[in-house]
């Protein structure tokens, strides 16, 4: 057998040096996701269902309703209003799916192949989360394809900014999924936990009903109970959804700078927590 000389050892700055390794992990995540029919079908059918059934079904009840003295000031149809939230829903589901792949890797041994490699833990984690975030952003883009049916006119600029923000949010959510996966060690446990986190987070993010800031506190209190308002304001996802609304339908319920700030903190914070869990050999 011919023998080809030893691997040249090159020492460069870490992020550059480990780029191929991070890329390999990223590529594997993306390939696996593209080969997973079930996940793709879910990514398509979920938004379709929301736009067609929820969106169109609730549309007539959304505009111009008057509750006593209070009148909605959301100048959009219901489909338009929930469209950015559906993008976020698709991103959430897919991010969590990536975390499941972490448990999968651990159960079926592949994680060892990575752990015994000379790739440092932070690089492994970064590749994994970037991969998950890419897939999630892809699934978010599937929703954008439905924009015409939801009567949401999009400019190319909106789409670019939107995708960038979606990626940031997806990064944070994937990191959150991995933090959860590190604490729950079985598929069943993860399923229960994920459901207990995803849907409550989604529903309290002002995704399906508006929390209009133009209303006074007293007026809001007429519409919604105090605890719900507090939950919505405490939910970090609220601000991410709000940002997407700002980008896609030019409607913000909160300070527009809050969204990117919260998303950025989520991405950084959960990444650090995940890294902390992962460091221990």
């Amino acid at each position: 057998m011919t023998y080809i000389g030893a691997t040249p050892v090159r020492r460069r700055i870490p992020v550059v040096r480990y780029m191929p390794g991070i890329g390999a992990i990223w590529l594997r995540e993306v390939k696996r996701a593209l080969r997973d029919r079930g996940q793709l079908i879910g990514g398509f059918s979920r938004p379709l269902l929301w736009v067609l059934i929820m969106g169109i079904g609730l549309n007539p009840y959304f505009r111009g309703e008057v509750y006593g003295e209070v009148r909605f000031v959301v100048p959009y149809t219901y489909v338009q209003f929930i469209f950015p939230a559906i993008i976020m829903l698709n991103i959430m589901y897919t991010s969590v799916q990536s975390a499941v792949s972490m448990i999968w890797d651990r159960e079926f041994g592949f994680l060892r192949e990575v752990l015994v490699s000379p790739l440092p833990r932070w690089a492994v984690l970064l590749g994994k989360i970037l991969g998950g975030a890419t897939i999630a952003t892809g699934h978010g883009c599937l929703v954008i394809l439905l924009a015409r049916f939801a009567n949401v006119p999009l400019s190319p600029g909106d789409v670019v900014v939107g995708i960038a923000f979606m990626f940031l949010a997806a990064f944070g959510l994937t990191a959150l999924g991995i933090v959860i996966a590190n604490r729950v060690r079985t598929f069943q446990g993860f399923g229960v936990f994920a459901n207990a986190v995803i849907l409550p987070l989604y529903f309290t993010s002002s995704s399906v009903f508006p929390l209009d800031p133009a209303l006074t506190r007293a007026q809001t209190a007429v519409l919604y109970p105090e605890w719900l308002v507090l939950l919505v304001r405490a939910n970090p996802l609220t601000y991410a959804v709000d940002s997407l609304r700002g980008i896609f339908i030019d409607f913000n319920q909160f300070d527009p700078s809050l969204g990117p700030l919260v998303a950025f903190c989520m991405a950084g914070g959960f990444f650090l927590v995940a890294l902390w869990d992962f460091r221990k050999p």
């Binding site: 023998y3 030893a6 090159r10 191929p20 651990r106 041994g109 592949f110 752990l115 000379p118 060690r185």
Partner: protein
């Protein structure tokens, strides 16, 4: 063995290594030296601590206490990334991605280990050739048999040209033909490369061709040496007899309490010297139908060192599965 020999780039040196799981001492003050270029076998029954030792050498498990763990010239505890560059590992349970093709699995490995692209491609072809999997290279790994998966894992572990190749029970669960094939590849590798091979097994017949054999049980190293050396030091000659009937077997057992049962309905009696041989024939000749004197075997070495037959301690499948589960949980915490 001198220090230079064991700590050079292809060797391993371990001193005072201990690891405990709860109350179980998985490794108890282990010393180990592996010379560069050797095929080194760690022989021990299930639960002996082989996997634990290998995981520590591969830097993915931390020992409780160790004076020294040097792998390929690097401190495996303090400079684990350096050590990892120099080793290739085939774990006891498969660690391939079965939703990727063979080539994609190798490609992944090459990128993670920083093997430049053109070199990576060349080695991939070369190694797939070595393990006879060239035609299957674009198939998904899940379509391979377990023997093929093992071979692919060996190829993958060599892709970055490591100095030391670790294999944890590479033949367990495989049929005789696949087992033989894997040992043939290891032989070929030893002949063609500058490679140290550390392999664990609980099949005694597999270690006969190895350079060094280390017998481990209950986390302790019981003996180390070449197979011949071990046979000479710890082996005993035995006589294997087939008694004429059950009563005869009883009579033999009564006369020789050291007799143990062997394959089928045979009995094994250790022979300590020539006089005992003659006496055995005189006293028990009428009780036996068939008889053979066996020169010291590694089986008898194992028996005399551990006090039990290696097959006695073979865990059932469920135990093995449970052990995998536990290991998986521990390693990734």
């Amino acid at each position: 063995m001198t220090k230079e020999q064991s700590t050079d780039a292809g060797g391993i040196r371990v001193r005072g290594l201990s690891k405990q799981y709860g109350r179980v001492k998985a490794l108890d003050n282990v010393d180990l030296d592996v010379r560069a270029g050797d095929v080194f076998a760690l022989l021990g029954p299930n639960g002996a601590g082989k996997t634990t030792l290998l995981h520590i050498l591969c830097t993915i498990l931390r020992p409780d206490r160790a004076d020294e763990v040097t792998v390929a010239g690097h401190d495996a505890i303090r400079h684990s990334l350096r050590a990892r560059e120099a080793i290739g590992v085939v774990f006891q349970e498969p660690s391939l991605d079965d939703r990727l093709t063979l080539r994609e699995n190798l490609e992944f490995h090459g990128m993670v280990y920083e093997v430049p692209r053109s070199l990576r491609r060349r080695r991939m072809d070369e190694l797939l050739e070595l393990v006879d999997l060239v035609e299957r290279r674009d198939d998904l790994v899940r379509k391979l048999s377990s023997g093929m998966k093992r071979r692919l894992e060996i190829a993958r572990a060599l892709l970055h040209d490591p100095r030391i190749l670790f294999l944890d029970e590479p033949t367990v669960g495989l049929d005789a033909q696949s087992r033989e094939r894997i040992w043939r590849y290891l032989e070929e590798l030893r002949a063609s490369r500058d490679l140290t091979i550390v392999v664990t097994t609980h099949y005694i017949d597999e270690v006969k061709g190895c350079d060094q054999v280390c017998i481990i049980d209950h986390g302790r190293i019981l003996a180390e040496g070449t197979p011949d050396d071990l046979r000479g030091r710890f082996g005993t000659e035995t006589v294997r007899v087939t008694p004429t009937d059950i009563a005869a077997a009883e009579a033999i057992r009564e006369t020789y309490p050291t007799a143990t049962s062997g394959r089928g309905d045979t009995l094994l009696i250790p022979i300590t010297d020539a006089a005992m041989k003659a006496e055995f024939l005189r006293r028990c000749g009428i009780h036996v139908r068939d008889l053979a004197f066996e020169t010291p075997s590694l089986e008898s070495v194992f028996l005399s060192l551990t006090g039990h037959d290696i097959r006695d301690s073979e865990a059932d499948a469920r135990d093995v599965t449970l052990a995998f589960g536990r290991q998986g949980g521990e390693l990734t915490r």
